[in-house]
């Protein structure tokens, strides 16, 4: 047995031991697993590698933190409540159209930023109360939001896993829009219907009006929505106008959160900040733990063992493993899946099949994005579960059917195009 495999098994065993038996948090368990792997691999306690790995996702961590602050401020100012009321009053007669519009609303920030987290924590937070008000159970509402956010992350114009794969094989990120649109929009609509169609029947304003607070909207009016509108404008302008200063998603979220302090109900800013961080720290810890885990996997060769193992299975197994390993690696990180496994898989598939690089890269990137529902990291899923007030495992169970639909969609595109 390869020493690299022994290291990998040790890491997994240490993780399970720490997380399930000792009941340590996922983040600490990941660190324990990393140390165990390094010890078995003869690397001692690799302080430098643990530190370097912990900082690998610093940019993502900052985006999540800033988005969470924005979302909390929107909630505290009453903007979410008012928007919920406005959407229901306007669209309750056409509930299916309302569902599609809500799905598109969740997708939009993902399309612009390439981040499912940004989508869930911005427009996902606006949409969640409406879905619940429609009578959709919390677990299904959470699944709808996380799937829509992931489809947004995968949709054009910005698909970061596709960009990472392109960078790895030196092909330009052009020609992706059509194929990504074909992959994401039908899948998003079908997933929405599968999860929500049942609840569109017999929908009446009277039934829903109990959950509506019309007062806040009447009191503050249009200005409640100013932070969300500024958010969308800044995101779009910073992408479409190269001469516009690149503020970055973090700063855009913070600017809009700041505006939110003055546009609605008054609230204690310090308490809101603390509350947003309380909710976020466990997820940030997971990302740091995951970074340590991957860094040590690479150090001891376990990463190479996995990648080489996948490539050595022949074309059909490579294809199958793409559909399994890429989303599964999302349990660690979807961007990591693209750069670590996506690139060698693309090269292997290109060698065995006569199919356009752009098509394969787009499909692989789409599969990587699906990893954002995979626990324990599950960036989209965990945040969506928090929005609806549930533990993620319940939301995850309802995400599996839409997940399978997306896999089938990707397979259909691969073999039909």
């Amino acid at each position: 047995m390869d020493i690299e495999l022994i290291c990998l098994i040790s890491m997994l065993a240490a993780f399970l031991l720490a997380n399930l038996l000792l009941k340590l948090p996922v983040s600490i368990s990941m660190m324990v697993a990393a140390v165990a792997g390094a010890l078995v691999g003869g690397q001692g306690i690799p302080v430098r590698h643990l530190f370097e790995g912990a900082f690998a996702y610093l940019d993502t961590i900052m985006t999540i933190s800033c988005a969470m602050i924005f979302m909390t401020f929107m909630q505290e100012s009453g903007a979410l409540e008012a928007l919920k009321t406005a959407i229901v009053r306007r669209f309750h007669k056409v509930p299916v159209l309302m569902l599609f519009l809500l799905t598109a609303t969740v997708m939009f920030p993902g399309m612009i930023t390439g981040s499912s987290t940004a989508a869930v924590l911005s427009t996902g937070a606006l949409v969640a109360p409406v879905l619940l008000l429609m009578g959709i159970p919390k677990e299904k509402a959470g699944a709808m939001i996380s799937m829509a956010a992931i489809m947004g992350m995968a949709a054009p114009p910005v698909n970061i896993p596709a960009m990472l794969i392109c960078a790895g094989v030196d092909i330009p990120y052009t020609g992706f829009a059509g194929i990504l649109f074909l992959l994401t929009v039908p899948c998003a609509l079908i997933c929405t219907l599968v999860l929500g169609l049942k609840y569109c029947r017999n929908l009446s304003l009277e039934k829903m009006s109990d959950g509506l607070d019309t007062g806040i909207g009447r009191e503050y009016g249009f200005r409640l929505y100013v932070p969300a509108i500024v958010l969308v404008i800044l995101l779009v302008v910073s992408r479409l106008v190269p001469s516009f200063p690149q503020l970055g998603t973090c700063l855009i979220f913070l600017i809009c959160a700041f505006i939110g302090i003055f546009t609605g109900r008054r609230f204690n800013v310090w308490k809101a900040l603390l509350s947003s961080m309380d909710d976020t720290v466990p997820i940030l810890g997971k990302l740091m733990g995951v970074g340590m885990f991957i860094q040590v996997m690479t150090l001891v060769g376990a990463r190479g063992w996995i990648v080489t193992g996948c490539l050595g299975l022949g074309l059909w197994f490579v294809l199958v493993s793409s559909f399994v390993v890429l989303p599964a690696f999302g349990a660690v990180n979807s961007y990591g899946a693209a750069s670590v496994i996506g690139i060698p898989l693309l090269l292997a598939i290109q060698r065995g099949m006569s199919v356009r690089s752009v098509t394969v890269a787009a499909i692989l990137a789409f599969l990587c994005c699906l990893g954002d529902i995979m626990p324990p990291t599950a960036l989209a899923g965990n945040h969506a579960a928090r929005l609806v007030g549930l533990k993620y495992r319940k939301v995850f169970a309802h995400s599996l059917l839409p997940f399978a639909i997306c896999l089938a969609g990707a397979a259909a595109v691969l073999f039909l195009l």
């Binding site: 690998a56 970061i160 970055g248 990648v307 080489t308």
Partner: protein, 377 residues
């Protein structure tokens, strides 16, 4: 009442451990900021700084040495870029070898061993790269830094999610914002990385550089490897070089894609009069199939997973248990550079550059690259 002291003790122990780790790490990462010496050889007539071509670089981590090897005999000028990606050590070492060993007999040679100087001060997270590696020389082992593909985020941060290449509008993933080889032709008022690219472009324009060669390495599974990638104007030089070295080793010549922007072989060819080329050797220590990652892998290039991958045709270069050593990779670069110089009278304006008495490919492989480097002092 019992819990409080327990918490204080636990917190104190953890805080103390954290402080110890921070102090230790400050020393470890601080050491990466100290550049290892490069010993100018007899051929070096001048050592300039890149900031001479972009004054705003002065005093920043992007400023770096430009070694000038002027033969004194009029001829062509050639610029060699090493360390564009500091995680591709054969490019860097080959440039160092030119500075320490080469004595041109005709024309002027410019060498920038650490083109992305900032990238030498850190390593890439998740890649678990060694921070240094050792090369055996006649006088002992010389240590060189293994860096990052990109500018140190301490010097340029944060990245936006999407990198928009300034002159073409091409969009790339945000992580490419700090990649020097996506920043050309650069901007004088841009990011640190863009300023470095701008300075190199200005150097080429102001010094009428005839030939520019950017030395790189790539994963053995990558499609463009053991290759010369040339701007369309430099394609004839690439083919002449390929034929010149074919008795010693195989190398391909590929035309630079016209729709992939920011790279030396595209932008320097488009924006200046130089013949722009880039060379790639196969480096297992940066590949995604590699096993245990350490300094030995960087130097020996031996990896059991690449041997396995080669057995089912998943790598694009010949690979066996012997690996692809750094000496072999440097030998490829140096031999191709010598061949390009030899072919210089047949391309462009017909001016000649002669690198003097350079070792053959077989000699470098047999003696090791350290044989041609200065002893450690």
């Amino acid at each position: 009442m019992k819990k409080i002291p327990v918490h204080i003790i636990t917190a104190s122990i953890l805080s103390l451990l954290a402080i110890c780790a921070v102090v230790y790490l400050a020393v470890v990462f601080g050491a990466a900021r100290k550049a290892e010496p490069i010993y100018p050889g007899e051929g070096v007539t001048q050592v300039r700084m890149l900031s001479e071509w972009c004054p705003s670089l002065k005093g920043t981590a992007g400023d770096t040495e430009v070694y000038v090897l002027d033969s004194g005999t009029p001829g062509a000028s050639m610029l060699v870029l090493g360390g564009t990606h500091p995680n591709e050590p054969a490019g860097y070492l080959s440039a160092v070898m030119l500075v320490e060993y080469c004595r041109p007999s005709c024309g002027i040679l410019y060498v920038i061993p650490r083109s992305n100087n900032s990238g030498f001060t850190c390593t890439d997270p998740l890649e678990a790269s060694p921070m240094t590696f050792g090369i055996e020389t006649a006088g002992g082992v010389r240590t060189f830094r293994f860096g990052s593909r990109a500018t140190n985020p301490v010097d340029q941060w944060p990245d936006s999610e999407v990198y928009i290449h300034a002159s073409s509008g091409q969009i790339l993933s945000g992580s490419e914002t700090r990649n020097l080889n996506r920043a050309y032709p650069g901007r004088e008022d841009g990011t640190l990385t863009e300023k470095v690219a701008f300075a190199i472009t200005e150097l080429i324009k102001n010094n009428y550089i005839d030939i520019t060669v950017d030395l790189h390495e790539a994963s053995p599974e990558y499609t463009t490897v053991n290759a010369i990638v040339a701007h369309e104007d430099a394609l004839s030089l690439a083919f002449l070089t390929m034929w010149d070295v074919e008795e010693s080793f195989r190398i391909s010549a590929d035309e630079s894609p016209r729709n992939l922007h920011g790279l030396t072989h595209r932008e320097l060819g488009d924006f200046t009069d130089t013949l722009a080329l880039l060379m790639e050797t196969a480096n297992p220590s940066q590949g995604r199939l590699r096993g245990r990652t350490d300094a030995n892998l960087v130097v020996s290039g031996q990896d059991k997973f690449y041997v396995r991958a080669a057995s089912y045709d998943a790598v694009t270069v010949p690979y066996d248990e012997r690996g692809i050593s750094i000496s072999e990779r440097c030998a490829r670069h140096v031999s191709c550079l010598a061949a390009m110089a030899e072919m210089s009278p047949f391309v462009g304006e017909g001016r000649e550059i002669n690198l003097g008495d350079m070792p053959a490919y077989e000699e470098i492989v047999a003696n090791g690259i350290g044989y041609y480097l200065h002893d450690p002092v």
